[in-house]
């Protein structure tokens, strides 16, 4: 039965992911308090990316679902990345 082989995420996993997300939140607040100059932005964005990945992989179930969902998400992110790159080439070199 297809219903029975559905993955059940345990409360423990969800709680651990939540703790990780809260840790990263306080880390990013602490890091941006320190003056790192231009690295502030990159540090905050990298941490935000990690947090988003945690939510996507565990809460949004990408780790346990059919592979096609993960592939679709990666594809959309690549398209978005391409748009960012093209836009900034335009603004940097016009």
């Amino acid at each position: 039965m297809s219903k029975d082989d559905q993955h059940i995420t345990s409360y423990k996993t969800i709680s651990l992911v939540l703790l990780g997300l809260l840790f990263f939140t306080f880390l990013t607040v602490a890091i941006t308090r320190v003056e790192l100059g231009p690295y502030n932005t990159s540090a905050a964005m990298i941490i935000a990316g990690l947090k988003a990945a945690l939510v996507l992989v565990y809460f949004m179930h990408l780790k346990f679902d059919q592979k096609v969902f993960g592939i679709m998400v990666i594809f959309v992110l690549l398209v978005f990345l391409a748009v960012i790159v093209v836009t900034f080439f335009d603004y940097l070199y016009r």
């Binding site: 297809s2 219903k3 559905q6 059940i8 995420t9 345990s10 409360y11 969800i14 709680s15 992911v17 939540l18 997300l21 809260l22 939140t25 306080f26 990013t28 607040v29 941006t32 502030n40 932005t41 905050a44 964005m45 941490i47 935000a48 947090k51 988003a52 939510v55 996507l56 565990y58 809460f59 949004m60 179930h61 679902d65 059919q66 096609v68 969902f69 679709m72 998400v73 959309v76 978005f80 748009v83 960012i84 836009t87 900034f88 603004y91």
Partner: protein, 205 residues
Amino acid sequence: MEQHTQHVDEHYDHIGSKMGMWLFIFTELILFGGLFIVYSVYRFMHPTAFHLAAEELDVAIGTINTVILLISSATIAMSITAMQQRKKKLCLGFMFATIFLGLVFLVNKYFEWKVKFEHGHYPGSDTLHELGHGDTLFYGLYFFMTGLHALHIVVGLIIIGFVVRYVINDKVNPERFALLENGGLYWHLVDVIWIFLFPLFYLIH
């Protein structure tokens, strides 16, 4: 006479309905993604104004709201676990907790915006006009993006409210809970968007 036993195959495609939800989520990601690009370009063009304007935002209230949203994301994920374990009451409890946290988020947002309005930092205000183009852009984007996000919170709450009704009358049940999962996906999407809004507006100086 032939025996007439009616056999009804209810159409239920669990993966298909999740796929549809993901496709919708992609359009939302691109919508907010476009706004993030607009924000980055204007920040690149007006670095000083964005730097100073961002310092005006209340990091404390932003952090509290981030924590609230993260916890609400965990509670909606737990409601699915409870549903799969056939614990209906627990499932409903987690969903009500999510709705409560979402409402708290909106109340915080109201007080945050209220302070901004009192300081004259709202789109079209004279104060912003005097501060110049960069500040006008920053606060325009701030209100539009956090406002659009808050609208998504409202929609998410309505969706979860509907799912609560279906869980109560067992239309959403342990054999058939794609609606709960899709409602959860929407709520997580709102969380993911906030994960990027928070550092961009409140933290990066």
